[in-house]
Symmetry: D2
């Protein structure tokens, strides 16, 4: 009967993000996910990878068993 | 540090809903609120009032410290 | 990576509750479940069954992928 | 009507933790707080301070408008 939610503490992009504006990205994930909003959190490409930057989620949308987040990338960890 | 969320188990409209389509309504509430989605829940005009109907939330949006829900009204309790 | 949680809006006992005191019951459920606490909610024996009463959850414990709730039964819907 | 919850992504001790066993600590916080459980998270003395270590929460208890967490400290960031 209950509603499954996944508590997430970081953004894992798996390279699926799309750029909306200069530093604003949009990412769709399966299922309903609870993210901290308005708070700086880690961005990673995969769960195992190192942090690739810090972002603040500005918007979370839940619909049709998907979660769409819009986030502003604050800093990028360059590794080259 | 944490992010305040309010767990809600019913929709309390306070008469602020707007009709989007035949049975589809949209309602903005202050703060970030966690609602059960895709599950029939009670709709009331105020917390103290009797149930005015049953609805299923189809979409939840969190942004700028507001929560906007889109819900389909399934049944209305007529009381006249 | 995320942590799965199930949002629950009522207590479904499946007859697994144990009485602790006069009107105080304890119930263990699989997984981590988010229940409204300190608020009257429905108690049912199964998801499909009618409400068997109203209870207020007084304590929620999450450990070892189980959720243990302690609740006070406020009213019973007698059906005989 | 709703139930206020605070989503927390790290443990902020403010020096209020008590040692239960070798690496097991217990900490009470005001209000109902949602923490990631069974997942390594940061431990800090204050919100502004640097990470003082990493811990895994083993148990979360919600009762009487308090949250009590039991966590295992996995690593300490020594700074001397």
């Amino acid at each position: 009967m209950g509603m499954p939610i996944e508590l997430n503490t970081m953004i894992v992009t798996k390279g699926n993000e799309t750029r909306e504006e200069e530093n604003i990205f949009r990412l769709a994930k399966d299922g309903y996910r609870l993210y901290p909003i308005d708070i700086p959190i880690d961005v990673r490409k995969t769960i195992q990878s190192d942090t690739s930057g810090t972002a603040v989620i500005q918007k979370v949308e839940w619909t049709s068993e998907k979660t769409i987040i819009t986030y502003e990338l604050l800093s990028l960890n360059s590794t080259n």
